[in-house]
Amino acid sequence: MPLQDLPAGHKFPSESLIITETESAAYADAVGDTSVEPVERVPSMAVVAAGLSRFIKHLGLANGTVEVVHASQEASFKRPVTPGEGLEIRATLKSNAERRGSRFATVEMLFIDEFGKEVATASSLIVVNAT
């Protein structure tokens, strides 16, 4: 369903997320992060980035028909994530409004481990403009 048709409070189907050693290393290499050993610990922001990318793709916002700009970001980290660890992403559309021809949408994401505990939370505000 297009973003403009989704009400605030809409819950997206939960998705599984596994960041492998290879993916963790590729992320660290791409951003130039040497602060962690990525095959032992996933860089904290990689988890949020993976979740946000899925949300954007899920809504069909990465297909070149619209311009998407990231306006603000919140993130909280409860514990490090290990490569290969299975997580569940629970995402909710917290706000969705049009102002002056632009659509402002906030998605909140919870990253849950196999024991049902939160490992991270994030809230992203994106602005979508027609091209």
Partner: protein, 127 residues
């Protein structure tokens, strides 16, 4: 002050990030598409820049950033490939509650000319 990060963002890095993070939005990758946007050319992912903020905080607080860290930031301006950015963090205050000390850190990412790219705060426990 936390140890700063100074880095030039390249288009090759943007493309590597797109693959690694799974974000192939054409505004980052497609020059023709980006030319039609108000930016006029390709821009780096905001999350690529924010990754450097997280890197700085991980370096400063190796365990406590990944376990209990929190940040809240705004993206103020796009970063164009070829631009150099400067990531900084300054402890604004330290508070104590129930015997646990926490730091509030002012986050800044600026370009060479001083333009703000990211502004915001981070919070991390110290004990």
């Amino acid at each position: 002050m936390l140890d700063s990060i100074n880095r030039t963002v390249t288009q090759a890095q943007v493309e590597a990030y797109a693959d690694a993070a799974g974000d192939h939005n054409p505004i980052h990758l497609d020059a023709a598409f980006a030319a039609k946007t108000p930016f006029g050319k390709r821009i780096a992912h905001g999350m690529l820049t924010l990754a450097m903020v997280s890197e700085m905080l991980t370096s400063a607080y190796p365990n406590n950033w990944a376990s209990g860290g929190h940040l809240k930031v705004r993206f103020r301006a796009p970063v164009f490939p070829g631009e150099t950015i400067h990531v900084t963090g300054e402890v604004k205050k330290v508070t104590e509650s129930d015997g646990v000390r926490s730091a509030e850190i002012t986050i800044g990412v600026k370009k060479d000319d001083g333009e703000d790219v990211i502004t915001g705060q981070a919070f991390v426990q110290l004990d």
